[in-house]
Amino acid sequence: MNFAKRTTLKAIAGLAFASTGMFSAAAASAKEVTVWAWDPNFNIAIMKEAGARYTAKHPDVTFKIVDMAKADLEQKLQTTLASGVTKTLPDIVLIEDYNAPKYLRSFPGAFAPMSGVVDYKQFAKYKVDLMSMGGKVYGLPFDAGVTGMYYRRDMIAKAGFSDKDMQNITWDRFIEIAKKVEAATGKKMMAMDPQDIALIRIMMQSTGRWYFDANGKLDIKNNPALKAALEVEAKLITQNVFKPTAGWGEWVGAFNKGDVASVLSGVWITGSIKAEASQSGKWGVAPIPALNIKGSVNASNLGGSSWYVLAGGKEKNTAIDFLNAIYAKDVDFYQVILQSRGAVGTMLASRNGKAYSEADPFFGGAKVWQSFSDWLVKVPSVNYGIYTAEGDAAVAAQLPNLAQGMPVDKVLDNIQQQLASQMK
C-alpha cells in the first residue's frame, strides 16, 4: 500500500514536471544564471543590480539570486562539493576571501578558472593573489575589506580631541584616547565581542604577516606581528577599554544606539553605521592605528569576498561573460553600488569615477570614499593559506588566558601547539 501510494505520488509529480517542462520548452533559448550570496542589503542587492545591467544588454539571460545565511551557504557548498554532485550547485557563488584558498585546494576542479578571459591586472593585487592557484586565477574580485577607524567626532571633542588627533595614530595612543573619552563621556571607546578576533587579524595584516608565511608554513612563535597584536589585545581586555557584546547584532546595536565612540572595521560596515540616520554629521573616519613595530602601516583589511564560477554549472560560460562584462569593465556600476550600498570595489579604475570623490554629509562632509581607496592600495598582501579558520580558532581559544595575564610568549606557544595539531 505504501509503495502504491508512492507510485501515485510519483505519477502526479511527473505530470507536474511535464507541465513545467512545456513552459521551459517555449523559452528554449532563455538562460537562467543562479547565484548564491548572503546579505540582502549588500551583495544580494548588488548582484541584482549587476544582473539587471547584463539582462538589459542580453535579454535572453535572467538571474536567480538566492539569499541564504552565510554559514548556511558555506555549509551547503561544502556538503555538495564533497558529495561530488554538481547539478544542485549554482552557477556563481560568493566566497569570503579568507575561505577562498581552502576551497580551491580542497575541491580541485570544482571552480572554473577565468585567467585568459578576465584582465586581472586591473584589480588590487592582494585580491588576485588570494584567488590564484597553480598558475591559474579563479573567481572575480568583488569588494574590498580595507579597514578604517570610524569615530564619533562629538564624543572625542568632549575629551578634547579633534579630527587631527585621530590621524595615523598607534594602538597605544588609541588606548590613551579611549580612557580620556570614557572619563569625559562615560562611554566606552568601542564595542567588541570578546571571542571575536577581528582586531587581531586587522593588526596582523597591517604588518603584512599572517599565521602562515608565504609558503604556507606555520608562523606563530617568532611572529612579531602576532605577538604585538596579542599584546595590544591583552591591554584592551585588561584595561577594560571596550563594551563586551555577543554576536553581530549586539555589536552593530552598540554603535547604532550611541553606546560607543568608535568602530574599527572593514569599509563594508559603512552601511550599518549610516543606517542610524540620527547620527548624521557626528561621525568621522581615520586610518586604523598601527602597531608599534617595524613594517606596520595604518592600513589593513578585514573580510571582503569574491565571486566564483562553478565548473560544473549549466551556464558556466554565460556566468563568466557576465562577471567579466559587469565587474571587470563597468566603471559606472561601481559608482552606483558605492553610492547605494557603500561597496568599495577592488577594480582600480573604478576609483576614478565621480562617486569616489564626493563628500559625504554623514561624515561631516569628508570625502571618505577617496580616503578608503587611498588606503586600499596600501594594504599589505598576505597569504591566508588554507588554515585561516583553524588559526582563528586557535587564537580565540587563548583569549581567556590572555585576559588572565598569561605571558604572551606562553600564549604563542599554545597557539602554535593547537594549530600544528590541526594542520594534518
Partner: protein, 273 residues
C-alpha cells in the same frame, strides 16, 4: 493538629515550588510574545512591556518572505513525514513484539544501537545517496531518511506490550488475516499511543533543521525553521521580525499539543507499562 500544620506548610512549599517552575517555563514564551510587538532596538534593550510594532513586524516579515508558502512547506513535510513514520514504525513495533524470532530480536537490538549514531556522521553519505536518487531539493528527500526512527519503533514496541493478546487471538479465531488484525483491531485500540507518537513525530519533523538545511536548496522549498535560522544569522537581524517568525514557528506545535493533549498523556501511560 500538628500534622495538619505540617501538611499546610508542605502544601504551601509545593505550590510555591510549582509556581516558580511554571513561571520559569512560561517566561520565555511571554518574552517571545512581548518582543513580537516591539521594535528591534527595544528587543535588544530587554523591554518587558507590549509595544506597538506588531503589525509593522508582521508586515516586514510578509514583505521579505512568502509566509503562506513557507507554512505550506513546513506543514507538508511535517504531516506527510509523520503519517509515513507512524505507519512504518507501528508496523515494525508490532511485528517485532508479536512475531518474535531470534533473527528479528538481533536486528531489533542492532536497530536500537543506531540511536547512538550522531546525525553529523551520516550527513555526507546520506547527501550523496539522495543526490544519486535525484531527490535533492525535494520534500520527499527531506522526509524519507527521517522516517526510519529507531526511537519511534522502540516506542511502538513498548506500547504493544500493553495490547491484550486475547483480542488478537479472538480476531484470529474470527478468521481475520494478520494485516486485518493490525488495521482493524490494533490501530483502533491503540489510538492514544498513535496520538502521542503523532505529537512527538510531528514536532520532530516540524522542528527539523540540519537535514532540511542541506537537502533543500531553493527558497521556494524552505521550511519555517530554515527561514528562522537564516533570519537570526543575517547581517542586520531585525529582532522584532525574528520574534514574529518565532511565534509563527512555535504556534502550530502548540496547537497540535493542545488539541491532542489528553491522548498524549494516555499514550505516554501506555508506553511505560
Amino acid at each position: 493538629m500538628m500534622i495538619n500544620w505540617v501538611e499546610k506548610i508542605r502544601n504551601a512549599l509545593t505550590y510555591t515550588f510549582l509556581g516558580v517552575m511554571a513561571f520559569l517555563s512560561l517566561f520565555p514564551f511571554g518574552w517571545m510574545v512581548i518582543s513580537a510587538t516591539n521594535t528591534s532596538t527595544d528587543v535588544t534593550k530587554g523591554k518587558l512591556s507590549f509595544g506597538s510594532a506588531l503589525f509593522s513586524n508582521i508586515g516586514k516579515f510578509a514583505e521579505q518572505f512568502n509566509i503562506g508558502l513557507i507554512f505550506w512547506n513546513s506543514a507538508k513535510v511535517a504531516i506527510l513525514g509523520t503519517l509515513f513514520t507512524l505507519l512504518v514504525s507501528s508496523l515494525a513495533g508490532y511485528g517485532f513484539e508479536v512475531f518474535r524470532s531470534r533473527a528479528r530480536e538481533r536486528l531489533y537490538q542492532g536497530l536500537l544501537l543506531t540511536m547512538m549514531i550522531p546525525f553529523a556522521a551520516l550527513m555526507i553519505p546520506l547527501f550523496i545517496l539522495m543526490a544519486s536518487a535525484d531527490m535533492l531539493d525535494t520534500h520527499a528527500g527531506v522526509i524519507l531518511p527521517l522516517i526510519s526512527s529507531a526511537y519511534i519503533i522502540f516506542y511502538f514496541r513498548q506500547s504493544t506490550k500493553a495490547f491484550p493478546g486475547e483480542l488478537r487471538d479472538a480476531a484470529r479465531v474470527d478468521g481475520l488475516k494478520e494485516w486485518q488484525i493490525f488495521l482493524f483491531v490494533y490501530v483502533p485500540v491503540m489510538r492514544s499511543t498513535y496520538a502521542a507518537a503523532f505529537i512527538i513525530v510531528f514536532m520532530m519533523f516540524w522542528n527539523s533543521f540540519l537535514w532540511p538545511l542541506i537537502v533543500l536548496q531553493s527558497p521556494e522549498m524552505k521550511t519555517i525553521t530554515l527561514v528562522l535560522s537564516s533570519m537570526g544569522s543575517a547581517y542586520f537581524p531585525d529582532f522584532g521580525v525574528i520574534m514574529v517568525a518565532t511565534v509563527m514557528a512555535t504556534l502550530p506545535t502548540l496547537v497540535v499539543f493542545f488539541a491532542m493533549q489528553r491522548q498524549f498523556v494516555q499514550g505516554m501511560l501506555g508506553s511505560i507499562k
